[in-house]
């Protein structure tokens, strides 16, 4: 029995059991969700060990062979995404117990939370373009509901704005799929890749790639299309902000872009330099623009939202550099930013839970009263800024190395220079909320489960930073190789099919 379909069926089943359980007991719902998300974490670790032996695990849904049926293609990059998703989902779930307590209809929260998990897991392991769209919509629609979960005016407005922008992206993706299907007569990613390999990149495929890049840029909130994110992510409940900023936009926007550009269209820096320069340009624009905007923010979570847009730029630069170091750096950055930003949004949740406000001017003196939260924030911030030995440093290091190896010395200098912006806006929170003495000094500590969730992420961050060599050899390196395989992806999918059948 293969475990591959379990990644999305377990959260899916849980999502539909929760409404039944919710009628019996509220605390039972939380217990079940936590157990399930921990089980997913264990399964994800097991999945990583599986990809050490075989570079590509192909799972045929309902035993239909690849071009006809839907396949799940599980390689090292998918394994890494699944692992990161499960870590953030687990900590977010743990954090939710006390944070969600003041909302009504708590089981609805956990149902949506599990649906969003199922959608993200599905995107990360599917090998079929339309299947990817369906999972993307499952995740996206759940996220619209979760952003509006508080049903206040601000949250509903943010959710509506997010929904309009998100659906423009989603429908462009659907249109691209339809056009691609009309031309290639297949929806299987590997089969599409074979067709493109046979025909070469003509203007039609470039148009499709442009549409897909537009759709995924909206989902990933790259700068010209980022306007929904600074509204939507702060409006959501903190564990959901942590999930959305930490991993959601990376699965929906970055993973899909990387997979399609590298493995399906088989582009490399050598055969499509302009396209890769476009990715770098989008990345630089995101870092600079959103970083500068973040400096002006007066709202804790909104500042972090702009910071996310800015940090996504680094990942895009890494993929735009396109050599091994660049891609490995980008993959590393996905992990580092998920842990770091996930943690920062959790600290914002703890602060909002106790202080009741998100405005930086009103928050002061929390460094003494909420010391665990303050130190968690410091670790997360230092990792994002890129201080060794935290994991963010190695991610940035590899991107800079990649830029130098690719002969883009100017890019390396700009990328390092722009991380001053990260330092500046995160210091603003540190200074206003945790360092400054103020009237909030008498607040109680964050609730126990919240502190556990934050400390767990800090420990994971320290472990990944200190054990970066192991991580590089077993998880990040293989993931980068999986992307740089290019057209070989299709051969692996069809090759294992020939062996199994």
């Amino acid at each position: 029995m293969s475990i591959i379909p379990l990644y999305f069926t377990i959260p899916l089943i849980t999502a539909f059991i929760i409404p039944l359980l919710g009628k019996i007991s509220k605390s039972l719902v939380w217990i079940v969700t936590t157990i399930v998300s921990f089980a997913l974490f264990i399964l994800a670790l097991y999945g990583v060990t599986l990809t050490q032996e075989t570079s590509m695990i192909v799972y045929k849904m309902g035993n239909w062979p690849p071009p006809l049926g839907i396949v799940m293609a599980f390689d090292s990059f998918s394994a890494l995404m699944v692992l990161v998703i499960s870590i953030i989902v687990f900590t977010g779930c743990f954090f939710s117990l006390r944070y969600i307590a003041h909302y009504t209809g708590q089981w609805k929260f956990y149902t949506l939370y599990m649906l969003i998990t199922a959608g993200m897991m599905g995107i990360a392991i599917t090998g079929d373009l339309f299947n990817m769209f369906v999972f993307l919509e499952i995740a996206a629609i759940s996220s619209y509901c979760l952003v509006a979960f508080g049903v206040d005016a601000e949250e509903l407005e943010a959710s509506f704005k997010y929904m309009v922008m998100g659906e423009i992206g989603g429908l462009t993706f659907l249109l691209a799929i339809a056009l691609l299907y009309a031309r290639t007569s297949t929806l299987n990613l590997a089969d599409i890749s074979n067709t493109i390999q046979g025909n070469g990149m003509n203007s039609f495929f470039w148009m499709i790639l442009g549409m897909l890049l537009f759709a995924f840029s909206i989902k990933a909130a790259l700068v010209p299309f980022h306007t929904w994110l600074p509204d939507a992510h702060p409006a959501a409940p903190a564990p959901v902000s942590s999930l959305l900023s930490g991993i959601f936009i990376k699965v929906l926007g970055i993973y899909t872009t990387a997979r399609i550009v590298y493995n399906i269209f088989g582009l490399t820096r050598a055969n499509a330099p302009t396209f890769f320069n476009l990715l770098i340009g989008l990345g630089l624009l995101s870092i600079a623009w959103a970083g500068l905007t973040a400096l002006k923010q007066k709202d804790y979570k909104r500042l972090l939202g702009y910071s996310t847009v800015s940090q996504i730029g680094y990942i895009m630069i890494g993929f735009g550099i396109g050599n091994y170091y660049g891609v490995a750096g980008a993959v590393f950055y996905i992990l580092a930013h998920a842990l770091g930003k996930g943690l920062l949004f959790l600290t914002s949740g703890a602060v909002v839970h106790r202080a009741g406000t998100r405005e930086l001017d009103k928050l002061a003196g929390l460094g003494e009263s909420m010391s665990t939260t303050a130190w968690s924030f410091r670790f997360g911030a230092l990792s994002l800024i890129g201080l060794p030995p935290l994991v963010g440093f190695f991610a940035k290091l590899f991107i800079v190395l990649g830029a130098i190896k690719a002969g883009l010395l100017w890019l390396a200098i700009i990328a390092i220079g722009l991380s001053v912006l990260t330092l500046a806006y995160l210091l603003k929170i540190e200074n206003n909320v945790f360092m400054k003495k103020g009237k909030m000094a008498g607040l109680k500590k964050a609730p126990f489960t919240m502190r556990i969730a934050m400390v767990f992420l800090v420990i994971v961050m320290l472990l990944t930073g200190l054990g970066f060599q192991t991580l590089m050899n077993f998880i990040v390196g293989p993931a980068a190789h999986a992307l740089l395989r290019g057209f070989e992806y299709a051969q692996l999918v069809f090759g294992s099919f020939a062996l199994n059948f």
């Binding site: 069926t9 409404p19 309902g62």
Partner: protein
């Protein structure tokens, strides 16, 4: 609670059974004729919507209906995933059509597909009715 006029109520009483039966027919013949779980589910949801529009309702009734329909919705979804998962547990392949296919064009044929259609029918019928209730009785449901 008032509902519509006597004419509407009488006509509703007459047609409601036929519509329900037609919905069941569409679901059960999903693997033989056009239609299937989704289309049949929509028709069945239509029965309940029609009953509500003709007869009106009370706050208590709407609350009760919303609970029942949400239970049915979950059960339908669980049945569907359960059938798929049964394939994984029994044969090791997710969504495998593990029941013998039978003779084509007979009612009892096509393995798990009629069962999946029934599950989808329950899910869609209850789901659409829940959406109707959420729009109609939104202020009561939001109080929970």
């Amino acid at each position: 609670m008032k509902g519509m006029s006597l004419i509407v109520k009488t006509i509703t009483n007459i047609v409601i059974g036929f519509i329900f039966l037609y919905g069941l027919y569409i679901i059960l013949h999903g693997h033989l004729t056009p239609g299937g779980g989704f289309a049949g589910g929509v028709i069945i949801a239509g029965v309940f919507v029609l009953k509500y529009l003709a007869y009106g309702s009370s706050k208590a009734g709407e609350k009760k209906s919303s609970i029942i329909s949400s239970v049915f919705e979950s059960v339908g979804a669980l049945l569907f995933v359960g059938i798929a998962l049964l394939g994984l547990l029994l044969t090791g392949v997710f969504f495998l059509n593990f029941i013998p296919r039978g003779t084509p064009l007979h009612l009892l044929s096509a393995g798990i597909i009629p069962l999946c259609n029934i599950a989808i029918g329950i899910k869609v019928g209850a789901g659409l009715f829940s959406i109707f209730l959420a729009l109609a009785a939104f202020k009561y449901i939001m109080e929970d």
